[in-house]
């Protein structure tokens, strides 16, 4: 038993940090540090920089642009990126559809799609949920019917994140209506410029535009855009969702937010006493630091465990990471609002007074991050997974 990193791992951490310090454009850094939204151009620019360094998709197989890092280094890399904070790459491509394609896709699909995901030349979005199929994803109704050399897609997807920027969408569609719920579903790749697709942006409570409804009206898709076998889409979706779940702890983001909180609480403003001198506040900060540290160690254990398990088998303990990780991110935004005090009531419109600039992005992040316990398999669903798969209840 040894909880420390090796000297090599520590050197690796420093290398990553040095790269971020040298390469991340300061405007992008500032936006992230202040909890503001990045634009599409920001993310494309950063992905290109990462790609030039060979680090856009380190967790992929080496032949498709991955880096031969062990799970500990992969984790250190993510942690440094989140803490810095630097942007994470677009997960719909790099962590969701990319791994599905290199694991289950055809050679042609791999050659066609993977390089463009790694560079963000193709922006992907995730078309799983529907109005009637959220937690019960297998209730989805979007249909794909064969017509000659094409699939014809009809239906509606809901909550599709950043579909307004997307070049491609991966969807789960029903290809066999007579089979059991989970069994008649296929995983299909669709060009967003196809005739018959329309996108309606939906404003979220933080005031941003991040989710959309996507409608399919007789959309024609080449048969070759099916991934893997027909009617096996549910298996690929489960593989994808498990990857999504374990990536959601995002402890580095909570650490970065706690650092920002400490800095803001230590900065004198308008001659008022600084909050960091208040023992009640310091106790709350310490409480969250303890929780973050505990989760970080739990994550180390899950990662260490992966080395002993057979590849690709979902570890139900990743539900702990999802639940605690999302709750901690939410709790840190609550503490951030405590620091902002009255300034947290201000909405930062273009016309907002400069006196509140330091508080920018605080309250809206609190609103926005309520989503974390809803998506990626809601925290209720994750608790059920723990109860059933781990505790045998």
């Amino acid at each position: 038993m040894d909880l420390r990193f090796t000297d090599e791992e520590l050197a690796f951490r420093r290398e990553v940090r040095a790269f971020l310090r040298e390469s991340l454009p300061p405007e992008i850094h500032r936006k992230l540090a202040e909890g503001c939204r990045l634009g599409k151009a920001d993310l494309v620019r950063w992905t290109c920089i990462l790609h030039a360094r060979g680090w856009a998709v380190p967790h992929w197989p080496v032949e498709w642009g991955g880096v031969d890092w062990d799970p500990v280094r992969q984790m250190i890399f993510r942690d440094e990126v989140q803490q810095f904070p630097a942007p994470e790459t677009l997960s719909f491509g790099t962590s969701m559809v990319g791994p599905v394609i290199y694991t289950f896709g055809s050679d042609a699909q791999k050659r066609r799609f993977l390089p463009r995901i790694a560079t963000l030349e193709d922006w992907w979005c995730q078309g799983f949920s529907e109005p009637g199929a959220g937690s019960d994803l297998a209730a989805l109704k979007t249909r794909a019917t064969r017509d000659g050399a094409q699939w014809v897609i009809n239906g509606q997807k809901a909550w599709t994140t950043l579909a307004q920027h997307a070049d491609w969408i991966f969807v789960l569609a029903r290809t066999d209506g007579s089979a059991r719920k989970q069994q008649g579903i296929s995983f299909i790749l669709i060009d967003m410029t196809s005739p018959g697709i329309s996108v309606r942006p939906v404003q979220t409570i933080d005031g941003g535009f991040e989710v959309n409804e996507v409608f399919f009206d007789d959309v024609r898709v080449p048969l070759e855009n099916l991934v893997g076998a027909e009617n096996r889409g549910w298996d690929y979706a489960k593989f994808l969702l498990t990857n999504e779940r374990s990536g959601q702890a995002r402890i580095g983001l909570s650490k970065a937010r706690l650092r920002r909180i400490r800095a803001l609480a230590s900065t004198p403003r308008n001659g008022a006493p600084v909050l960091i001198e208040d023992p009640v506040f310091r106790r709350k900060l310490a409480e969250l630091e303890v929780e973050v540290r505990a989760l970080e160690l739990t994550q180390f254990r899950v990662i260490a465990d992966e080395r002993h398990k057979e590849q690709g088998r979902p570890n139900p303990a990743s539900s702990i990471l999802k639940i605690k990780g999302s709750e901690l991110q939410q709790a840190t935004t609550e503490l951030l609002m405590d620091v902002l005090g009255p300034a947290g009531l201000v909405r930062h419109a273009e016309s907002g007074p400069a006196a509140f600039d330091w508080a920018r992005g605080g309250t809206s992040t609190y609103f926005n991050l309520r989503k974390l316990s809803i998506y990626g398999g809601s925290n209720e669903i994750q608790r059920t997974i723990i109860a059933r798969a781990i505790l045998g209840l």
């Binding site: 989710v211 008022a272 009640v280 405590d338 005090g341 309520r370 809803i374 809601s378 209720e380």
Partner: protein, 383 residues
């Protein structure tokens, strides 16, 4: 012990509830929010017609002689419907300052204008450095020929840019944070030297930063004793805390109602999600939180007229703490149990959550009121 409303109070509750159900639907409110001023003068006129704007004022002054219970009834209904008109700044906050601090002559001059809807007021008290401390006032008032001159900066003045006149607190003596030496002045928003910078707040309402540069105030617009205005402001803030505690009850009740209804109608896995015991327990906890908050809103309301300032402040801090805790819990749970739909601006529950989040922190957050209460000693002997 009696929690019943009187006959007149029941009538008030019914008529306000009916009026809002008819004329303040969620879609209508969205249009009001999108309008340039962010609130509706037409709605304001209807409030005047219904007698709501003159509610807390004495008949002798031109009001309708309502008390804290009447204000509670109105604010609870406003919480349900998420009313955005400047009732809190004009009628509750400024109204309380006039009732407790103005001369009879000033009240007779101003109250009829509030009552008929032609005068919108705002209380310009909080300052950028003050956080939630009511005595932390640096704005200065110096005596000048026939009146006073004000200089300083006020922060987060609710509806400051819509107000015709501002009630401004300013130091006539004493050091910053000294409870003595604070006076109250009635200032025209358009007076020379007043600079107003308005902006939206997170719940869709409006507030303003206001600068005062050597603004002249005639002697007739000084409200009460120039050295002893703080108790008046504190009483006004206490009444406002009681009012938003009631507003929060309305908003929480609406959020719980929508959530329970959603649990009954939304199906996943072939059954209504309300059949999952995990969610039933969550809804039950929301109900408990609502009832605890309702009890403490009653305490705040029944303490609002308490002349023992220290005891009144303890009750308000206690009520504000319970309100804040319940508001946060119910707001967050309402979103969570709705799933994705709770996250959108197109659905009312998210707006309730946002307003509840603001109420949680308006006039002092949890830590502030825990601090006040801890410093004030025990609550147990107040009963």
């Amino acid at each position: 012990m009696n929690f019943d409303l009187s006959e007149d109070q029941r009538l008030l509750k019914d008529s306000v509830g009916r009026w809002l159900a008819r004329s303040y639907a969620f879609e209508h409110r969205a249009r009001i929010l999108a309008s340039p001023e962010g609130w509706s003068r037409a709605t304001w006129a209807q409030m005047a017609e219904l007698g709501l704007l003159g509610l807390p004022f004495a008949e002798a002054d031109g009001g309708f002689a309502g008390g804290p219970v009447e204000t509670m009834i109105v604010m609870e209904a406003f919480g349900h419907a998420l009313v955005v008109e400047p009732y809190l700044p004009t009628v509750v906050l400024a109204g309380a300052v006039l009732r407790h601090g103005a001369s009879a002559e000033q009240r007779r001059r101003l109250v009829p204008l509030i009552t008929d809807g032609s005068l919108v007021l705002a209380l310009a008290h909080g300052e950028p450095q003050a956080r939630w401390h009511t005595a932390d006032i640096a704005t200065r008032a110096v005596e000048a020929a026939g009146g006073w001159r004000l200089s300083g900066a006020k922060s987060l003045v609710l509806h400051g840019e819509s107000a015709d006149r501002l009630i401004v607190s300013a130091r006539t003596g004493g050091a910053p944070r000294d409870p003595n030496g604070i006076g109250l002045f009635l200032v025209d928003r358009k007076a020379p030297g007043v600079v107003v910078h308005g902006y939206p707040t997170q719940d869709g309402q409006r507030a303003a930063e206001i600068g005062f540069q050597d603004v002249r105030v005639p002697a007739e617009d000084v409200l009460g004793d120039v050295a002893n205005g703080l108790p008046v402001v504190e009483h006004a803030i206490d009444e406002a805390i009681a009012a938003i505690a009631a507003e929060a009850v309305g908003a929480m009740e609406a959020a719980l109602g929508m959530t329970v209804n959603y649990l009954k109608t939304r199906t996943q896995f072939g059954v209504p999600i309300g059949s999952f015991q995990a969610l039933q327990h969550r809804a039950a906890d929301m109900f408990i939180a609502l009832e605890q908050a309702r009890s403490m809103a009653f305490l705040a309301v029944m303490s609002a007229a308490d002349d023992d300032g220290a005891r009144r402040r303890r009750a308000m801090s206690a009520a504000k703490i319970q309100t804040a805790k319940s508001a946060r819990f119910i707001g967050q749970e309402a979103i969570q149990l709705h799933g994705g739909i709770g996250m959108t601006m197109e659905y009312k529950v998210g707006h309730l959550f946002k307003r509840l989040t603001m109420i949680e922190r308006q006039f002092g957050d949890l830590d502030h009121h825990f601090g006040c209460l801890a410093a004030a000693g025990s609550l147990l002997d107040d009963a």
